[in-house]
Amino acid sequence: MDKQELVRGLSAAVGAENVFADEQTICESSKDYIGFRIFERADGKSFAPRAACVVRPHTVEEVSRTLRFLNENRVDVTPRTGGSSVTQSIEPVEGGVILDGSAMSGILEINETNMTVTARCGTPLEYLENALNERGFTTGHFPQSLPMAHVGGLVATRSTGQFSTLYGGIEELVVGLEAVLPDGTVVRVKNVPRRSCGPDLRQLFIGSEGALAFVTEATLKLFRYRPDERWMRAYAVADMRRGLEFIRAVMADGYKPAVVRLHDAAEVMMVLGMSEAVPEGQALLLFLCEGPRAIAEATGDAVAEYARKFDAADLGGKPVEAWFRTRNDVCRTLDNGLYHEMGVIADTCEISANWDEIGNIYDAVVARLTGEVEEMAYAGGHASHCYAQGTNIYFTFAFMEEKGAQAAEADYMRVVAIILEETLRRGGSVAHHHGSGRYRTRFMPEEHGSSYELMYRLKDALDPNGIMNKGVLLVERK
């Protein structure tokens, strides 16, 4: 189908005013924030594939008609909402269609009795959170992309937030949802606290990255918003290993701070600039506890007790407050070309593993990055989402790119491969919360092992024509 035909067909399905074939809208809608793409853009280059057009539906019926048309005509479609992807998950297939749910915005219901909120897929999380805060509630979901992300994308990418140690990831926050299958069928999973009527169908869509369906609506849990009852404290601890032991003790003993962050010495110096506050070579721990005052205080008291046990020096609450205030500021400067100006490609890569291996992964990755990559300018990491069984490590890195934008992707993948290889070698997961996107797809067979076959079967069942977000999650079968 040529572009004109495609635009005509889509215009008939959803109205010409909702179909955009101009260069600017296509480029803006294809924009991904993975490190090498930011570098390429700052260098004036664009190597991302070009879609034929962007469709912005306003209703679930329009989504249904759009998908039905694209499915019948075997046209590739890439779903998106807020556009905060850092994994190439919203980059289109050349000549395909971008299905942008950002115009489907709005809170449908705040149910204070059932403690739920229902919002359409294009509802900005920041708007939703502000509206809930005014009524004394919170979603408990605070990804760093808060100023950019929309509800649909959060569900589709299996997002998590900075307070996840208490509230859990989005998979624990979604009560029910609505999605549109590639053939246009609208499915709804109803809102109940729990049920045992077969596999949990919500989980088919949570983290599906648009490869199985388009999420149009979600109902999320509500929590009481108690910003005045937070307990905050920072500690300096001997090193990353000691810090991990500290966190494990807190989590394994059953305490649930909302925020637990452990920054290594490299991040303390190079990212936080806190060399004056934290002794050289030591790691920094940030804790924030919240909930009913008695629980927040009891959790905080327990953390303070562990700090004594692990010889961690009390730095007071201000480092946590300062982090809290500025924690999402990076969203406003993603495209400022700063790293390009410095001659580096910088990014993060988050993995997870059980307690018995996470420290080994951290050590192995840092040793390989600093030892094998000559151009490495910085390598560090932090743990920021903790569980009784283990934690994540958010590796942060920067390497000099002197060969220019043409080499950016290959050089980037060489660095990322080290992180992911070391993780897989020790039984960890290569994606804690950003999802597979396209850049991690080749690692998915090893990530899933024998269960990977289920992914293909699901794909075949829900998207037999294979039109949905080709290239994410699934390695193309030969």
Binding site: Q24, E28, P124, E126, Y127, N130, P147, M148, A234, M269, L272, G273, M274, S275, E276, A277, L315, G316, K318, P319, E321, A322, W323, R325, T326, D329, R332, T333, D335, N336, G337, L338, E341, M342, G343, V344, T370, E374, E375, M376, A377, Y378, A379, A398, M400
Partner: protein, 521 residues
């Protein structure tokens, strides 16, 4: 050529907590906020290295050295060594914040002992943030002083500078030796590999005159939070198009009640304003004789100058010679006896009680004061100015329009900013950017509003997606009415606004454009 770059480390201002601003002390522990090299100094450090590289490409030798006063953390010196600096000198010991003259004396003494054809410094650095240290060092060394440099190029024994002046962009070729201050350059210090950092792990900054201690400079200063004097009324709305209609019909049409006209600048008795606007920037020196004669004849308690390059140069020279109290960017307090100036990137106000006589450059000159116009007959460029060419005009829209639309980094993209620019055109308004937005590449340095750019005073200023950092808020303080739009209801910008809307700024921009088109039909 040897290149010496003067730098200072400062707290990361954005991370300083509100209660520490409210009870600000320069001796308070702000280490939790982290420290960084001042952004203007960082640009100067990188421009020094680029110039060195350019000389190397031409087969000429150039070397880079850095110096600072105070006690920066050793990690900063390692960063500079790894980036290519051959030496890092730490001058003196102790607390030098708010002691610009002592800092300048140390730096000038150090520079005088070397052979540096070019000295670079950020336009403003340190907590005191006076922006006068480069000027003071230049005068002490008797050096040519060039301000507002954005870029540098090697031109034999001379240096070519691209300078952003209030009236436009200039290319200047200046014979060395010279001292240049760097302002809104987008340059940032290059990264170094871990291996380069490892290679300099054992290198330390060199302490020079560690016995020269200084403690104070702040004993006569009272600090207070610079938090704006406006009371923001948040606009309630049910839809973004509805909000756009309200803004267009009420706020942007001039129907909203503007604040009472700004009170005129207080004028103390026995004050003289020395008008320097007819003096060409390079001709301050010939004007000093008449200034000195006039000052000695009348001995005014307050000799007042505009806070411009020429005003500062003449004022500092006069103060040095007469021993008078000297302050830049000053505002008279309502009691008429004390003075304010902004500090810490305009996050706090420092209140001074001056001794008399005082020589001041003023943020706003009093109209009642006696005026003495200073002029120079000889307008020929000096021998050291080899070439000068204006390459772009100033953004007059910022200063001459009744309404100005200003975009912050919260607009999210260049494309969104372009839409706001279109909105400004439709409204017949001027257009500006915060420094953060300009550094995102969404506009030029001539469009920056704030401490390091233009200070604007339109009847209505619509601020879209700005967080409200002190340095930006200083630039809109004289607007008759400020309307701010930000999706974060806790954003500081609402403290500096008369009306505000908690809304998505790009979406509102689109709605305003649509509403403006409807209104035009």
């Amino acid at each position: 050529m040897n290149i010496l770059v003067l730098f200072k480390t400062v707290p990361v201002w954005e991370r300083v907590l509100e209660r520490d601003w409210e009870a600000f002390s320069p001796y308070g522990d702000l280490s939790y906020a982290g420290k960084e090299i001042n952004c203007f100094d960082e640009a100067a450090l990188e421009l020094g290295l680029r110039l060195r590289d350019e000389y190397a490409e031409q087969g000429k030798e150039a070397r880079c050295f850095a110096a600072t006063a105070g006690t920066p953390h050793p990690s900063f010196a390692q960063t500079l060594f790894a980036a290519g600096y051959e030496d890092v000198a730490v001058l003196g010991a102790g607390e030098f914040e708010f002691a610009s003259e002592e800092v300048a004396r140390l730096l000038a003494d150090y520079a005088a002992g070397g052979d540096c054809g070019l000295i670079l410094a950020g336009a403003a650095a340190g907590m005191a943030d006076t922006g006068t240290v480069p000027l003071r060092v230049a005068q002490k060394l008797g050096r040519t002083f060039i301000t507002n440099a954005l870029e540098l190029r090697a031109r034999g024994d001379a240096v070519e500078l691209l300078c952003q002046e209030p009236d436009g962009l200039y290319r200047r070729v200046v014979r060395a030796p010279l001292l240049a201050s760097v302002s809104n350059s987008p340059a940032v210090l290059r990264a170094a590999t871990l291996r380069a950092r490892l290679a300099v792990r054992d290198r330390q900054a060199r302490t020079v005159w560690g016995d020269k201690t200084f403690d104070g400079g702040t004993e006569n200063i009272i600090f207070s939070r610079s938090a704006g004097k406006r009371v923001c009324g948040l606009l309630e709305f049910t839809s973004v198009p509805g909000l756009a209609k309200t803004l267009l019909e009420h706020e942007l049409s001039g129907k909203a009640s503007a604040r009472a006209a700004q009170s005129r600048a207080f004028c103390p008795p026995n004050a003289v304003v020395y008008d320097t606007q007819n003096i060409l920037w390079y001709a301050a020196e010939p004007a000093f004789g008449p200034l000195r004669a006039n000052w000695h004849a009348g001995k005014p308690d307050y000799a007042l100058f505009a806070d411009t390059y020429t005003g500062r140069a003449l004022a500092y020279r006069l103060a040095r010679e007469t021993g008078a109290f000297f302050l830049t960017g000053a505002l008279f307090a309502e009691d008429g006896e004390s003075l304010f100036r902004r500090a810490c990137a305009s996050n706090v106000l420092a209140r001074y009680r001056p001794r008399l006589p005082a020589v001041l450059t003023m943020e706003k000159l009093p109209v009642e004061a006696e005026r003495v116009s200073l002029e120079t007959a000889d307008e020929k460029p000096p021998f050291w100015l080899l070439e000068e060419e204006k390459t772009a005009c100033a953004n007059d829209g910022l200063r001459n329009k009744k309404a100005v639309v200003v975009c912050g980094a919260g607009m999210g993209s260049r494309a969104n900013c372009e839409r706001a620019r279109e909105l400004a055109r439709k409204l017949g308004a001027g257009f500006g950017l915060t420094r953060a937005a300009a550094l995102n590449g969404w506009g030029g340095p001539g469009e920056i509003v704030g401490q390091s750019g233009a200070s604007i005073s339109p009847e209505i200023c619509l601020v879209l997606g700005a967080s409200g950092a002190g340095a930006f808020a200083a630039g809109i303080e004289n607007a008759a009415r400020v309307v701010a739009v930000n999706s974060d209801e806790k954003a500081l910008i609402f403290r500096h606004a008369d009306a505000g809307a908690v809304a998505d700024a790009p979406a509102l921009t689109e709605a305003l454009l649509a509403a403006a088109s409807c209104a035009a039909r």
